[in-house]
């Protein structure tokens, strides 16, 4: 199955973060590559989406939606300080 890219999960990410996230910059936890979410390779196999690093193919983001409730695992993608995402800054202390 062909990968699409981070643009395809923009709606789901907006649901989770309350903001447009595809331009957010982050670093791959596996290889250290830095880029925007829009450029991650995304596999849309049901019941969720898996985003992988375009350089090393490591899993960066896992997104699952169950009964309208989105769960996200960002362990593989370290988001840069959210200068452009004041709303995200407010929601961030999750870890």
């Amino acid at each position: 199955m062909d990968a699409v890219d981070g643009n395809a999960i923009a709606g789901e990410l907006f649901d989770v973060f309350g903001d447009e996230m595809t331009t957010a910059v982050g670093t791959c936890a596996h290889c250290g590559a830095t880029g925007v979410i829009a450029e991650l390779r995304v596999y849309m196999r049901a019941p969720g989406a898996v985003a992988r690093c375009p350089r090393c193919d490591g899993v960066t983001i896992v997104l699952v939606n169950v009964r309208g409730s989105a769960r996200i695992d960002l362990a593989g993608f370290k988001l840069a300080p959210p200068h452009d995402h004041p709303v995200l800054a407010d929601q961030r202390p999750v870890s």
């Binding site: 062909d2 990968a3 699409v4 890219d5 981070g6 643009n7 395809a8 923009a10 709606g11 907006f14 649901d15 973060f17 309350g18 903001d19 447009e20 595809t22 331009t23 925007v36 979410i37 829009a38 450029e39 849309m44 004041p86 709303v87 800054a89 407010d90 929601q91």
Partner: protein
Amino acid sequence: MARAALPRRLNWQQAKVVELVEETAQTTSIVLEPADWPGHQAGQHVDVRLTAEDGYQAQRSYSIASGPEDEHLVLTVERLDDGEVSPYLVGVLQPGDELELRGPIGGYFVWEQSLMGPLLLVAGGSGIVPFRSILRHRAAVGSDAAVHLLYSTRSLDDVIYRKELDAIGAAVDGVDISLTLTRDWPDDWSGHRGRIDRQLLEEVAWPTTQQPLTYICGPSGFVESAAGTLVGIGHDPSRIRTERFGPTGK
């Protein structure tokens, strides 16, 4: 810490189907009147959701074909015969019906006048859709950003918005449109033939010294190939924005 703003919501809403326009044998433009449309940027998309009687839902993303200044919201959808959503949108949906959508979505694959040019737009198949929005927006705001559009389809019959693109290419200053046909072409076809490759990109793309802003939209393999070739020619990867979509009918 004070809350800077309440999280915005991207609510699902109903949009009324005003009109259906057959663009090619496989693609139809759906002209919509959403209940509450906040406006969009050229290049953004919407999510469309279908709900079956038993509650099963299927959701897909579609690029917005209309310009921000256009009266109606327009999506252009390619029918995939074994698809779950597109055969309903292209074949069953009728004017007067309601369609559930949310948007606009995306902030990466967008163009605004302030980004200027020159622009290189590279489209494969229905990857032309967001570029129609960009071209309409460029005209509406009176931008003089120079545009090269390179559009690859199988045959002339598969060219979406053919009349509009012909008219723009013939009459609009600063916009240069090149078609390449990959499978069938008329005997008297004087345009490009074959898939987009290094030779064609070197011919059509701007010189790297002009630092064009490039947008590439199409099936994943198409986008990978075009983007990789441009980088190989010497284009700055940070000036290349891409949008990939999944399976196509081709």
